[in-house]
């Protein structure tokens, strides 16, 4: 009897969903048998100020419904990236020269400026696919894979997810496992951690491509609270091991009193760095724990979504993220959606602004601004419109700002008077179109 009740519930849920889907877009419902594909495509532009990273990305997400709740989805993305990124070296009152990451060229930074490595140019392709299907009544299993390739980096991954519904499908528990294998293969080879930046064409501190393995586990619960509110909470665990350095990041080696980079002159007839710089070196493992909570509620036509995430890891980086979306309908077919996001993180235990000349080298060190203490704020607005055929187009524009904080205890001499971390200001613009056939 209980079993029959459950089946009745499932049948009613399916019928209700089908009816509601039909009520929302009548033309689509009339041709339900044929409208098995849903395609969402988007063009994204991401641009940082001051000639830093510019990225244009085209992505297509496709989903096909099969009978009995079976679902295939896949995505294809192409990215093209150019621009400059802070190398980690500190600003000086004199111009600086660096050997480029490939080792076959040099680039210069003007006096007083935070060194940016402007040699980035990359194209990235990414694909992913997932198959989802219900089984044994209340369970759903999905499995998938992902692959991406860029000039100096390759990723391959697989994942599996199991969910089970309880309480007339008011509660859903899920457990997911993902494995990633990533390879870093920079042009010119991988620099040995903490080795000194060498003259042009000297690759004696470079090694072969390096790999890392990442295992992710996410355990979650989603709960229907009432007819208009749903919440979910996820616990996530991530373990990375292998090569976790950034092969393009360096640190300046500075005078213990002035804080200025120790000057160096390349041998006659050779081009090379104008100071002593050493490559970034990070631990070869990292374990992260995260807690994520999200609530979504219907407020008489408007939809408010709030989320909070706490993450902590054994590099001593703790972060808090707060995010809010409010979808506000305009008439029957359009909406605007303001979005706010706040992010803050502490610095990695091995983050430092520079290395001090004459002191023993630390085991690990990085001046990567992403491992520093900083706050980030995003504010954005999305506008969406549903066409008479039941398709939807949308535009969103967002502004992202990062402000780094470096404690005075990490600064030496003249560094106290100079900018250490350049603020990041970026625009995100996206156009999306979704249709069924």
């Amino acid at each position: 009897m209980a079993n029959n009740d459950k089946r009745l519930g499932v049948a009613l849920a399916a019928a209700t969903c089908a009816l509601l889907g039909g009520a929302r877009s009548a033309p689509a419902a009339a041709a339900d048998d044929e409208d098995r594909w849903e395609i969402e495509s988007a063009l994204l532009y991401y641009g940082e100020s001051d000639d830093r990273v510019q990225d244009a990305s085209l992505s297509v997400f496709a989903k096909r419904d099969f009978d009995d709740g079976k679902l295939l989805d896949f995505s294809i993305t192409a990215d093209t990236l150019t621009g400059a990124s802070p190398s980690g070296a500190t600003a000086l009152d004199t111009p600086q020269t660096f050997t480029s990451p490939s080792g076959d060229d040099t680039y210069r930074t003007a006096a007083g400026e935070i060194p940016l490595d402007d040699t980035f140019l990359d194209t990235r392709y990414a694909v992913s696919a997932n198959w989802t299907q219900p089984f044994a009544g209340l369970y759903t299993v999905s499995a998938g894979g992902s692959f991406s390739d860029e000039y100096d980096y390759t990723h391959a991954g697989a994942n599996v997810r199991l969910t089970r519904d309880f309480n007339q499908r008011n509660t859903t528990l899920s457990a997911a496992l993902a494995y990633s294998w990533d390879e870093s293969d920079p042009v010119g080879g991988v620099p040995v951690g903490l080795s000194q930046m060498l003259d042009e064409d000297d690759l004696s501190n470079r090694g072969d491509a390096q790999t890392k393995d990442i295992v992710d586990v996410v355990i979650g619960i989603a709960q229907v609270v009432n007819r208009t509110t749903v919440v979910r909470v996820n616990y996530s665990y991530s373990d990375s091991s292998g090569y976790l350095n950034d092969p393009y990041k360096i640190l300046s080696v500075v005078d213990p009193v002035t804080g200025d980079t120790i000057a160096r002159t390349p041998p006659p007839g050779e081009d090379g760095p104008s100071g002593i710089y050493r490559f970034d070196n990070r631990p070869d493992s990292r374990t992260k724990h995260g807690l994520y909570a999200e609530a979504r509620t219907w407020l008489g036509g408007k939809v408010l979504s709030l989320s909070y995430r706490f993450m902590t890891d054994d590099w001593e980086i703790d972060s808090h993220t707060l995010e809010a979306h409010l979808r506000w309908p305009i008439g029957a077919t359009s909406y605007v959606e303001p979005h706010l996001r706040y992010y803050t993180q502490t610095a990695a235990e091995f983050y430092r602004v520079s290395l001090v000349d004459g002191e023993p080298l630390p085991q690990y060190a990085s001046a990567d601004y992403r491992l520093a203490e900083f706050d980030g704020v995003t504010a954005g607005l999305k506008f969406g419109h549903e066409t008479s055929g039941g398709n939807e187009w949308s535009v969103r524009v967002e502004y992202y700002k990062q402000k780094g904080k470096v404690s005075d205890s990490l600064l030496i001499g003249n560094q106290l008077d100079r900018e250490t971390i350049a603020d990041l200001n970026a625009i995100i613009a996206q156009f999306s179109y979704r249709f069924r056939f």
């Binding site: 860029e150 007819r227 919440v231 393009y248 993450m311 590099w315 995100i428």
Partner: protein, 68 residues
Amino acid sequence: MRRLFTFLSLLALTGCAQVAPWERDVLARREMQLDGAPLDAAFDDHIYFSKEASSGGRGFGGGGCGCN
């Protein structure tokens, strides 16, 4: 970990009113789905993965790019 599971279990059991399948008119709407905007979420995850030290939480936080 034990505390977390206790919290999750309590959350599941705390007097959430059971909503019957035929009462899901609002919850069935696309804009009420927790993963209703996969492409926006994927773009955001990718951007913040590239610019911040933390990633994942909503889903997997793994790698997939040598972003700079």
